[in-house]
Symmetry: C2
Subunit: 237 residues, 2 copies
DNA sequence: CAGTGGTCTAGACCACAAC
DNA sequence: TTGTGGTCTAGACCACTGC
């Protein structure tokens, strides 16, 4: 049995996207939705809070839930999403070139991932080509305690799919940092930089369900093709 | 009376930050917290979910809530935070130079903010100096329907403080977009770019409690001083 | 005033982890 | 089996909006 509040959420998203309730109009009240979906009010509220969190509605006390018209053109780089998922969302023609797969013992990286003493770290370097241009250089480091084998086919397709479906691991959360750096020699060699003198770097620490750090990665983007969209709410002090 | 779940949240944050429960240990269970704070379990869960959302803990079904050790050095650029609030959080010596305050009728901007027909738009340009260097160029546009007066002193101090405290408006949410651009002539003149050939631009649409768009702004950063930190959780499809 | 969303309660049943 | 967090319920009271 699927979770009730999620099926309600999905249903409401679908209806908002198909303009059942156009932007800046009100959703049915929580009480109405309660009878409509034959459930309790707290369950409805869970679904509505998800909608609000994701920028679909804004709730106003005493009035109701207003449908927002943002979020229509914004594809999320936020959250934890694999390149394959992203490319599918955007309907872009994209290509992945596996540049390097190796096992390393680099001190700087090893310290971050802290594998058990005798074990090692996978290094994967991939180039992402979008519409024929080499735009992104992905450098991934995996703790081999969790990912024992890595084939070229897996790296070509989707490492996340492999980790979640085949290895049965659950990716839980990540710390991300976005900074701008000067291109390294490697960046210049692998990417079509076209004279750009900066790259945007997304550095991620990715953790599993048991809070163990299993991946560190750097996603290095040509600056003119980088875009990050966020929906934020004001938090009072 | 303050909201119970928020006072519990604040208390738990304080205790986590003062190492009452060190990183990677477990918080007391929800049932224990229920008796400790003399409240219901759902209220405890609201507080814990807030902690999880903000990266303080990770909840594991069947085990408990693990304290994370991230979030200790990461100052949030995310969310809606004014420059004054940010500077205070970081204990940085900072200075604001008000470069321009004017009323404009630029078509491109007017279309975005869509003020009522006879009204106008405030344009404010400010330079942010951090440790003696001109690092950020803030260009703000306010719908004069909501902000009738803007003094130089207000712009020097904090426009948000003025809007929320003196005008009694409530800032609710914002759409943010981060892109990298080539510096404009204005960027070159106002900032200490030191040869950098890119600026990081945060473009924001800011909305009030009644969902009306009242501000558009561009915060233009020298790339080497820009940093964005995010905490994300994996969402299954 | 009636209707809205926001908070809080006390209890139930479930899925999962650890022993 | 026990204890954990995840979902769901039915009801209560409150603060706010709009008439």
């Amino acid at each position: 049995m699927k979770k009730k509040y999620l099926t309600i959420y999905d249903d409401l998203v679908k209806k908002i996207q198909s303009d059942v309730w156009p932007a800046s109009t009100l959703l049915p009240s929580e009480n109405e939705l309660t009878t409509e979906y034959d459930t309790s009010r707290e369950t409805i509220r869970k679904a509505l809070n998800l909608l609000a969190q994701n920028g679909y509605i804004h709730k106003i006390r005493g009035k109701g839930s207003v449908v927002l018209d943002i979020n229509k053109f914004s594809f999320p780089v936020s959250g934890i999403v694999s390149f394959k998922e992203l490319a599918q969302q955007m309907n872009q023609t994209s290509e992945t070139i596996v540049e390097e797969i190796s096992v390393i013992e680099d001190k700087a990286v090893t310290d971050k991932l802290q594998p058990s003493e005798q074990s090692q770290i996978w290094k994967v370097v991939r180039i992402r080509e979008i519409s024929g241009e080499k735009i992104i250089l992905d450098k991934d480091f995996f703790n081999a305690d969790y990912v024992p084998i890595l084939s070229k086919e897996t790296c070509q397709n989707s490492i996340y799919e492999y980790i979640e479906n085949d290895l049965g691991l659950t990716i839980a959360y990540a710390e991300k940092e976005i900074v701008v750096e000067e291109p390294t020699q490697e960046d210049r060699e692998c990417l079509d930089l076209e004279g750009h003198s900066n790259v945007v770097v997304i550095k991620s620490h990715v953790y599993l369900e048991d809070t163990s750090l299993f991946q560190y990665s750097e996603s290095r983007h040509r600056p003119d093709k980088f875009r990050f969209v966020d929906f934020a709410r004001r938090v009072k002090n």
